[in-house]
Subunit: 533 residues, 2 copies
């Protein structure tokens, strides 16, 4: 029996479009092996041609914009306006990585020329001379030239909630290609038709721009995904999804005979703290902003603020409840997500010590995958004892009410790692409290936000979309922004190579005009003078 | 019963100095927790004071040089000349990281100022405005400022073969402190007295220079090491040692409820290929250099070249055997290392299809832990079928004899990841072969060496001492050279913070004078003009 992913419409709950068959094991193996064979020719493409691959993909997606957005809306129900914007984000992201490849500093070239006075010592002590003499420690400095090279084929696990920006042609794929790595995408079952179609477009665009055979492929099915993570040809994995899914695949990657880097962006509670002065100055505005952020996209963002810390007696119950009840939500992505949300939010509301501002809807009157927001409140002291820190995917949030700064701090102490943490405060009246909150959050979150909201992740060089476990499996890395490319690059040092044998990036003349650090000084010039050859 | 590490003299095999007790579980917990408490005050020290910590450690080690070298020689038998040089390397390494901290580019500051034209859109779309409007994708760019911050307390597992440079005050400790991280060292049982004494010196030097209480400690014993890897306060691990030990601790780190980065530098075969033209031009010189390198320090270097690929009919048997037999070796480090070497080298010599150039010594006549080199040869075709790729720690090496380039390449195809790979060739007569070998090796090794030897790892910015599994558990990172600091730093992005609340490194005025990248341009100046505040 062939197993399939059957897309359904979130608007109706009914099947839409053709079912997509799961990829057979031998076909997964064939595609991963082909990616392995594509690694060297892809890495060898000159940087402008590598940038050209990314631009070709962006152009091809733009050329099919209308059909893609329509297909995405049919399968995800996220709405054509949002999806059109997300497609723009996706093509802008591809262009950003193309710019990065052309600029070249991502290769992180560091050159240390030999210490000329140590040359004789070096020859004497490292072979050819008196072999009984112990190793020179510290050894004299030879000519050493280091750069980053592609790590090899990357498996990319798509997310369900961003069918363009974190899917087949999303940030993981774009950054892997920018690094010079072949990609095999494991499609998300929530938008299988869109994944297959996007995969065709990407593969054709890459081929048209001179990309190597087998350098890009899409596979479908959970078993196909697991097979990728353990395939000998796969050198790294990028994943966006749930903590449970991320953990299972992380464990699989670590259990390989040769473990490989596994970059998962998983769950996050994204706490928001509002100080007493901020409530006094603009409580209703903060409450409205919070509701807009936690209900955005039906709460299906990894940056959804799930915890709002308010001073007790905040007086914002009504505005929070009314604004939430009137927020216009798109449907959720899938039947099983609706079920999980109904179960999770009902448990939340039934928790001992919890006050319900907006209860779960007991009856389901709407068609498709529509749900209503759920909002509960709990005292900080109670929260500190038994934290409500299970992330509830969807439009649900917990208000944590604190009596004092000590009370607040004890509750914050229980929080796990997060992608973001937000402070709403008044800098003039509470500078010490603000500073203390920011300092605390920098140790627990990847991005610290001031008087704003975590939803909306700008794609730029200074972005960091990451954080300590369980926000991610790799706290040194980001899955959004230009430094995401670093996940798929590893250093190599070349020692004492003749100039013609060096990669172009490392030659004395700097024929690629790259930014390089030579003997501690940064520049784009050639190596000349007494230290050059 | 108290379990102890009893040091013995490699010169005599007899106990030397006092036994050092293994650290009790509650004491390990206490020291790890203290390191956790020290994380914030250590991270908060101004960079010049952090650099001062490293210089204070270097000065304190120099002040006790004679006693330390004597103690090291008594426990390791590596000889006072080598150990004196290694201590110099260690203090030079500490000074290098102090310079790095003062220079500041290691913080990798990236600042993207807001897109002023997007300001109104941003306010409108991300809260406070029409909440039904979908998220702006790509969202307008807010003020984003990213820098690296310390990851938290680091557990360091010392190596036995470098009692200074990869031990208590070695590269892992120096790079962790440079990153701003507290350190708890698990001492190597081979030099427990030296480890304890070095630990006292380091702790006193740090305290004297204003380091926080509990920011540095040493523990002894295997159980203590395992407890560190799973301790909630420990945020990352640096390890230098065997593949078996590294794998066991890697699995432990991955099995935590909150897995942490585990940086292991493990085993490596460090292949060397010599081309026919190189043999013709300077065969005897290459053979002598190889022997000097593989027997250096009794073959107890992670960069020991364990495989030498020579063209069949090379005619170098005699020079290889004679030079090896006359190489003056120090004793090995420990009884169990001698046993493992005797067992491993005997297996090597007894392997089907192997020709023995220098057989294992069947009788043991010398005192202490002295051994003799072992050298065997095997045909490349036989090697390609059943590779001899178990690393044999000690003065043993395998010559692999190839009949053709295809024969050579088939044998190379079987090699696992390595720290280094070396090519001896003649660039004028064999440019294509040389280029092909270098290109192949860059995918399998961290450092590619031309007409030299892998032993001798310069401590410098362009160094890369790493490589794909099993050379290391983290192919993106190095354990030697200034970029080793990156293992212990994680990014944080600050969004829209008022200038006075930003860390000094990110403020408009750039009060620390750091190298920063602002809107894509690198420089050390302040942010001024229309894009500033």
């Amino acid at each position: 029996m062939t197993i399939v992913d059957q897309p359904t419409s979130p608007y109706t709950g009914e099947p839409v479009g053709d079912a997509i068959a799961h990829t057979a094991p031998e076909e997964v193996d064939r595609r991963a092996a082909a990616a392995g064979r594509a690694a060297e020719p892809l890495a060898a493409l000159p940087l402008p041609r590598r940038a050209g691959l990314l631009r070709a993909v962006a152009d091809a997606l733009e050329a099919d914009r209308e059909a893609l957005v329509g297909l995405a809306d049919a399968e995800t129900g996220l709405g054509e306006v949002r999806l059109g914007g997300e497609l723009t984000r996706t093509t802008v992201q591809l262009a950003m990585f193309a710019d990065l490849v052309e600029e070249g500093s991502f290769l992180d070239v560091i050159i240390d020329l030999p210490d000329p006075e140590a040359d004789d010592r070096a020859r004497h002590e490292r072979g050819g001379g008196d072999q009984r003499r112990p190793e020179a420690v510290p050894p004299p400095r030879p000519d050493l030239r280091r750069m980053l090279v592609p790590i090899g084929p990357v498996a990319v696990f798509s997310a369900g909630n961003f069918p363009f920006a974190f899917s087949v042609a999303g940030g993981d794929t774009a950054s892997a290609i920018a690094a010079g790595c072949p990609v095999v995408v494991k499609a998300h079952p929530g938008h299988p038709g869109l994944s297959a179609r996007t995969g065709e477009i990407v593969a054709a665009a890459l081929a048209g721009a001179g990309g190597p055979d087998g350098g890009f492929a899409v596979v479908h099915g959970l078993d196909a995904g697991r097979a990728l993570v353990t395939h000998p040809a796969i050198a790294a994995v990028g994943f966006t999804g749930s903590l449970a899914g991320g953990r299972a695949l992380f464990d699989l990657a670590c259990s390989r005979p040769d473990p490989i880097p596994f970059y998962a962006e998983m769950g996050s509670l994204n706490p928001v703290v509002v100080t007493p002065a901020a409530v006094a100055a603009r409580g209703a505005e903060v409450a409205r902003g919070f509701v807009a952020s936690y209900t955005l996209g039906a709460g299906q963002f990894c940056t959804k603020p799930g915890l709002l810390f308010l001073p007790a007696g905040h007086g914002l119950d009504e505005v929070l409840a009314v604004e939430s009840a009137s927020a216009g939500l798109p449907p959720m992505l899938a039947d099983r997500i609706v079920s999980a949300f109904r179960r999770g939010s009902a448990e939340l509301a039934a928790t001992d010590g919890v006050r319900t501002l907006l209860p779960p809807q007991s009856t389901v009157e709407t068609t498709g995958y529509r749900v209503s927001p759920v909002l509960v409140a709990v005292a900080a002291a109670r929260f500190a004892e038994r934290p409500l820190i299970e992330e509830c995917f969807g439009p649900a949030a917990v208000i944590v009410e604190y009596d004092s700064t000590a009370d607040l701090e004890a509750a914050l102490e229980t929080l796990p790692g997060a992608l973001t943490a937000t402070v709403h405060a008044e800098v003039d009246s509470e500078p010490d409290l603000a500073r203390s909150l920011i300092n605390r959050f920098k140790d627990r979150a990847g991005r610290v936000i001031w008087n704003g909201w975590p939803t909306g992740v700008a794609v730029t060089a200074a972005q960091h979309h990451g954080g300590p476990w369980p926000a991610t499996s790799a706290p040194l890395h980001t899955s959004v922004g230009s430094t995401a490319v670093r996940r798929f690059l590893r250093p190599v040092a070349y020692q004492s190579l003749p100039d013609p044998l060096l990669p172009a990036a490392l030659r004395d003349a700097n024929p690629l005009g790259l930014p390089r650090r030579v003997n501690g000084r940064s520049g784009t010039g050639p190596i000349t003078g007494p230290l050059g050859r």
